[in-house]
């Protein structure tokens, strides 16, 4: 086949720009109309939005479970629910929040934002992206349908053996949990691969690694962490399900297996998971702080090095979740030191943000309020984390409400507050309309104060000895008032979330029209229309600094020459982002959905018979072959229409 030179084809440039170019690119990058287009799209923005909405549905469901638990604990010796139901509630709450909300929502933000931030037309491997969404949806639906059928898992979000093994958890509850893990790991790993390839190969010309936006840096580190940590829980849950289904003995001490192997495999994933959730939050905070302080983030190199350090240290601290299982003395010393060391890069980041606020001219709009809430809450959670790194304290408060307070301060403070700020911040980009400030501030204060009222008393309850994961407590232990306060706080917190969602929906319908760059921000995502067209940018932008839109106030430097009649991406070199290749981007297709459906059948059937893995492999293989089977190249369109 002769390679057609760009000159022989319609392409963007002096001769083809403005509305004529827009019409061509809309046709090239558009989806089929209607429901079929919805099922087959490979557009990163549509899939990112879908991911985000689904994650928020799971947040609401997980929140309802939390409210039910707080209702049960509002007073001593309450009997709103049975202990069995309570076990399912806390298991479903943790599982939903960690596997179905926190990680997917961060990946959703990355799927939507990263191609815009680095100036490319679509994410890499867009069909894999579509596949990952369907897998995520199937895994989450499996878990929740099972819960509604009263076969929801009940052995905790970490499913410790031997409790979760065949002897103590008969029935299918734990199998549902283990397969849900497989679904979400497949989805998360697929997205991680796309993010790494997109960031390293598709950055706009001139966007060297040293000019990459900080959120892009955080997602590069996060995607690599996903790649190195998630295989651990996937392997562990496969071992668990095979112990339960075909009688292997990985975790069965009677046949020389070891339940602690499960804890190692789980926490080798589980601890990096916490930073996988927190680091994107740090990325949001950097962008919001920069825009609302009107100056670049203080000490960019220190920020990047801190991110990378946190990512590396994350793999050296998992055993601090296992202090209570007994370790050699050197083990205690090593994991305590490693855990405390995490405070150093985290502290550096906090000081950099404070310095940015200090030196800038902060404008306290809703997104920046969430940054302040983040700093306040995350510092408290970080300090209780340093306390827990000390073995004597950990042994005293392990499995008490002190730990519950700690990780909610870290996860809600470190990830959910920045996320809520980020949604308010990028809302105009995604919807084309501003999010209401009045309701925004009201919901902010309810969420912030409601959170503190819910979780601060849990520190005290934990120090006073109240254990986690127990469905009630007797009167007369001095825990009544604090529990009641926590329940009151949870009502305020939930009401704040409802207001936040109402505000978002109302603003989507009636908010002020935003325009491309309503905050006068510096990043490339603000150089295109709000909401962005399907092809993202009419011409590929060129970058010469870390704050491109602040340094080019009158025009956007661009490069031309990508085909307008076929989906083409620009690939650049890894370090310096020098233009290197024009590569095609995949067209919409139904096969990722078909592959996800056949994989879903395989995974669910394998809960009931191991032969499902063998028989189910055939439809999966058929769908994958159809997915990858090359299409005949499109005939070039005439240059002049």
């Amino acid at each position: 086949m002769t390679v057609l030179s760009g000159k022989d084809l319609p392409r963007d440039g002096e001769a083809l720009q403005g509305t004529a170019l827009h019409a061509r690119l809309e046709r090239t990058w558009g989806d089929a109309p209607g429901f079929w287009g919805w099922l087959t799209t490979t557009d990163h923005k549509k899939i990112g939005r879908r991911y985000m909405v689904t994650a928020f549905v799971f947040l609401a469901l997980g929140g309802l479970l939390a409210m039910a638990m707080r209702a049960q604990l509002a007073r001593p010796e309450n009997n709103l629910m049975t202990p069995d139901r309570y076990n399912q509630l806390f298991t479903m709450h943790g599982t939903t929040m960690m596997f179905l909300f926190a990680v997917p929502v961060m990946e959703a933000m990355a799927i939507y934002l990263i191609p815009l931030m680095i100036g490319t037309r679509n994410i890499s491997f867009p069909r894999l992206n579509a596949f990952s969404y369907w897998m995520y949806l199937a895994g989450g639906s499996l878990l929740w349908v099972a819960f509604l059928l009263n076969i929801g898992p009940d052995a905790g979000w970490f499913s410790y053996t031997p409790l979760s093994g065949p002897q103590f958890s008969p029935g299918k509850r734990t199998d549902i949990w283990a397969q849900m893990v497989t679904f979400t790991e497949v989805a998360a790993l697929a997205v991680a691969v796309e993010i790494v390839a997109t960031i390293l190969k598709q950055r706009a010309p001139g966007m060297t690694l040293a000019r990459m936006p900080l959120f892009v840096w955080t997602m590069l580190v996060v995607a690599l962490m996903v790649i190195f940590s998630m295989p651990s829980v996937a392997l562990g849950s496969s071992f668990l399900i095979s112990d339960r289904l075909v009688g292997t003995h990985f975790f069965n001490a009677m046949e020389r297996g070891d339940p602690l192997l499960w804890q190692h495999l789980f926490w080798f994933f589980g601890h990096p998971e916490v930073y996988i959730i927190f680091l994107p939050g740090a990325g949001f905070v950097s962008h919001i702080t920069e825009t609302f302080c009107r100056r670049p983030v203080f000490a960019y190199p220190a920020m990047v090095l801190s991110l990378v350090t946190v990512g590396l240290l994350a793999f050296g601290v998992w055993v601090h979740h296992m202090f209570a299982t007994g370790l050699p003395r050197t083990g205690y010393a090593f994991y305590t030191a490693a855990t405390m060391a995490v405070a150093v890069p985290s502290g550096i980041q906090i000081f950099c943000w404070i310095a940015t606020l200090w030196d800038g001219r902060p404008v306290f709009k809703v997104p920046l309020l969430y940054v302040v809430a983040f700093i306040f809450t995350f510092v408290i959670g970080g300090l209780s984390g340093v306390m827990l790194a000390s073995v004597p304290i950990d042994l005293q408060v392990t499995d008490t409400y002190f730990v519950v307070a700690h990780f909610h301060y870290v996860l809600v403070g470190g990830a959910v507050f920045p996320l809520l700020g980020a949604i308010a911040y990028w809302f105009p980009k995604v919807t084309g309309r501003m999010m209401g400030e009045g309701l925004g501030k009201l919901s902010f204060w309810m969420i912030f104060l409601g959170f503190q009222l819910t979780f601060f008393p849990m520190h005290l309850l934990g120090l006073w000895g109240m254990p986690r994961r127990v469905y009630t407590y007797p009167t007369g232990l001095g825990w009544d008032e604090m529990n009641f306060l926590a329940t009151l706080g949870s009502v305020a917190l939930a009401a704040g979330f409802v207001l936040y969602i109402v505000n978002a929906l109302a603003s989507m319908a009636r908010g002020a029209v935003a325009g491309p760059n309503p905050w006068d921000a510096a990043g490339l995502e603000w150089a295109t229309a709000s909401p962005p067209p399907q092809y993202n940018f009419p011409h590929i932008p060129v970058v010469t600094s870390r704050t491109p839109l602040w340094d080019n106030r009158n025009h956007l430097p661009v490069m031309t020459g990508l085909r307008a009649d076929d989906r083409e991406l620009l690939l650049t070199t890894v370090m310096e982002a020098i233009p290197d290749l024009r590569e095609p981007s995949a067209l919409p297709t139904i096969w990722p959905l078909a592959a996800a459906l056949s994989t879903t059948c395989l995974f669910i059937a394998s809960i009931f018979t191991p032969w499902a893995v063998v028989i189910g492999a055939f439809p999966v293989a058929a769908a994958l072959i159809a997915w990858f089977w090359p299409k005949s190249p499109l005939a070039p369109e005439p240059i002049v229409e």
Partner: protein, 206 residues
């Protein structure tokens, strides 16, 4: 529509549309999957030593180590398969479709032979997966590797079919074939430590 008027600073029209190795997106995708699967293998190997540490002897009494014949024949064959694999990879990189076609066909019976040896391997482990933790981890390592070898064989067969269609002339198919050959290297490289763990470590430490 862009908010700011564009300022044209260069043109990309003459850039090539395919390249091999780290310049292509496919290569990065394949390498990322190496990292994922390599991590899974490393953790499975870690689990093997964790379980070995719990036992007094390895294999535990009275089991005897796996028989060597099938696994060793498999190992020799898969190592030798690298010769046609390298020929295919280099031919794809210099766009020599005739050589690619010939040597991909030669690989097909080698794949079949490997699958036969692998089937006999399960039979020569001398332990079932549900006998004890030793049996469980041996079967797990072998099954984990079967999924890789099966995936790559299916992949290679599809590509072998493709090179006999009109798509063979497309540069991108040759990139796919070169990356697939790289994946085959990963498949046999990961086998080498597993071969030692299944067949030799129980002989060395018991």
């Amino acid at each position: 529509m862009s908010a700011l008027p564009p300022k044209f600073e260069g043109d990309l029209a003459e850039l090539p549309t395919t390249a091999y190795g780290h310049r292509s997106l496919t290569w990065w995708g394949v390498v990322a999957f190496f990292l994922i699967e390599g991590t899974a293998f490393a953790l499975a190997i870690g689990s093997y030593f964790f379980l070995q540490g719990v036992e007094d002897s390895w294999p535990p009494q009275p089991w005897k180590p796996a028989d060597l014949l099938a696994g060793t024949l498999f190992t020799i064959t898969i190592l030798l398969s690298e010769i046609p694999n390298t020929i295919v990879k280099r031919a794809a990189e210099r766009k020599d479709v005739a050589t690619v076609r010939r040597w991909m066909l030669i690989l097909v019976p080698i794949f079949a032979l490997l699958l036969v040896f692998r089937a006999f391997e399960f039979n020569s482990l001398n332990v079932k997966w549900d006998d004890n933790a030793y049996g469980s981890i041996l079967w797990a390592l072998l099954v984990l590797h079967v999924t890789h070898i099966a995936t790559d064989i299916v992949d290679s067969l599809v590509l072998t079919g493709l090179v006999f269609t009109k798509h063979a002339a497309e540069d991108r198919r040759l990139v796919d074939i070169a990356e697939n050959a790289m994946y085959w290297r990963f498949v046999w490289l990961t086998w080498l430590p597993i071969y030692l763990l299944i067949y030799w470590v129980p002989r060395w430490v018991s």
